[in-house]
Symmetry: C2
Subunit: 337 residues, 2 copies
């Protein structure tokens, strides 16, 4: 049996392009004792992967040129010589971007297909949902009545941040880049305010107007001028969770801009960077609480699902042009069992 | 009886100068019941006062043009119609820069002249010492074996930061601006390394070399290029206490420079601004622990004491040219009792 794989063909200099990806096809080896054959069902594409395409020091190891991309994948066990993982089981884990993968099973988590659609384990119940959970609750520590601003608000993380903040009784202001997203945030997710940074004339003034009592918590998915605008409205003792800096992922030199230290000093404010793995010991707690909010209808969730293994590169590239609302992923096969 | 006062004559635009100060002389009013007459003995000059000379929003209320400067003062009660404060008592508090002040006693703290020289209550036992204590221990949370970098290392705060970090078993690297200060830090205060940022060619490389295991805690008194160099050597989960940004106090526009958010994100690092008053509820604890370290000879302390009320403005201006080592203050009178 043959399987397609997507490799890093070359490292991008600046914005990534299709040339950085290469699709190959190889024969799938026979299973050894203890191994399983995984068939990829859903593959997640995420902004942080841009960092791994470079060889600069970052929080995640770089991809190697000529080797497969890796990331969150939901897969089905279609053959098993492993007593722990039966044929028909569905798992989630960090796996290569390929159709069929031979695996020992280590580091994979079994998924209960009854809890939620399988794709949700790459989104609200998986890395993006947990990222929102830890950044907002552990760093932001929102209190009832406080004002929370989230940038990248219509994305996989931002939509969960805003909804959890609403559950906690906060005023929630989202920043996103299209009228469609603004409409979604205000009318579907019940954000108190949402700002289209592309069409608002003066982003500093827009943030100040949307936050008449100032900003107590800022969940930063983007960095750059949007963040600067929020920092100018900070309240004393504000908390800033730095989750993403998509504004700079394609930079080739260290970015410069507004100095934040004087602002943090003036407001006795806290800023903390994080990745979801920092809180690995609490993954179980977060997953249970997110699943229960979802079940009770307290969290809305939206996905954009592209179809077809060959379309993974273009789906990934779409992340940087702001096309998608909610979690973006690619469905590559139907479940067999 | 007449008393001299130093007023804010005009707000500085950029670096402050002598023109911004004015000395006047007025008659001291008679005491009303409940009041005391205070004679200033020592007056503290501190970098943060530059911020109060501007009318921009900051953490401390601006001084008003035509009104006295205020700050830390050790004073003697030379007349009393207040049952709580006897003649001869020594107090410390936030007081105007004047020779004699009529006061209700509210907000003043009595000082035990036996514990330490009176001037120490403006330094190691007062605001600068407590600033070092809270910033290092509450934000920095240094652990044995970690590397701590402090900028403005030879100043009133920096010298205490480095010494407490040594007490906690850390490797301590100081950054300061003269060979005399470097000598003092290494040979008197036993810092592991000290960098003269004015003569080291490449500050980024100098910090990297002085911190072969990276930087776990950075106590930032200065901001700017010195801080950027430290940020480039941060370790995962590093903590940065932002205490001062003297590099920017004379700026007239919001400063720009290296973006810290991507660095905090890459290292899951925490950065927090603070002022000593944020920890007011723990002042007693800090004062007791600092006094006991001092008594046991575990903390060295150095002051630069200028003499004469009229010389306060020039002493203050000297803060921005890096002349002083240790705490800078002005002795304005002898104690009577």
């Amino acid at each position: 049996m043959k399987s397609k794989t997507i490799l890093l063909n070359s490292r991008p200099h600046g914005a990534p392009s299709k040339d950085n990806f290469k699709i190959t096809e190889t024969e799938v080896p026979a299973l050894q004792p203890g191994e399983v054959l995984l068939k990829a069902l859903y593959i997640s594409v995420d902004p942080y992967m841009r960092g791994r395409m470079s060889d600069a020091r970052s929080y995640a190891a770089p991809y190697e040129v000529g080797k497969p991309f890796m990331g969150g994948v939901v897969a089905e066990v279609v053959e098993s010589r492993n007593g722990q993982l039966q044929k028909g089981a569905v798992v989630v884990g960090s796996l290569p971007w390929q159709q069929y993968t031979v695996h020992t099973g280590k580091g994979l988590h079994a998924v209960d297909p009854e809890v939620a659609p399988l794709s949700y384990h790459l989104g609200i119940l998986g890395m993006p949902g947990q990222t929102a959970y830890f950044g907002l609750l552990y760093i932001g520590q929102p209190k009832e009545g406080e004002t929370i601003v989230v940038s990248g608000a219509a994305g996989a993380v931002g939509t969960v941040v805003g909804q959890i903040a609403k559950l906690k009784g906060c005023r929630v202001v989202g920043i996103a880049g299209s009228d469609e997203k603004i409409d979604y945030l205000k009318n579907k997710l019940h954000f108190d305010e949402a700002i289209n940074y592309k069409t608002t004339g003066d982003i500093n003034r827009a943030v100040a107007q949307a936050c008449p009592d100032g900003v107590d918590v800022y969940f930063d998915n983007v960095g750059g001028a949007i963040s600067d605008a929020v920092l100018l409205s900070l309240n004393k003792f504000a908390r800033i969770a730095v989750c993403g800096q998509i504004a700079f992922y394609n930079n080739t030199t260290p970015p410069t801009g507004l100095r934040v230290e004087p602002i943090l000093l003036r407001n006795s404010a806290l800023m903390k960077g994080f990745i979801v793995n920092d809180y690995a010991s609490d993954f179980g707690t977060a997953a249970r609480e997110l699943a229960s909010w979802l079940k009770e209808g307290k969290l809305q969730y939206q996905e954009t699902i592209k179809e077809g293994f060959e379309h993974i590169p273009e789906a990934f590239l779409g992340l940087f042009t702001g096309e998608n609302t909610g979690k973006l992923l690619v469905k590559v096969a139907e479940r067999e069992a």
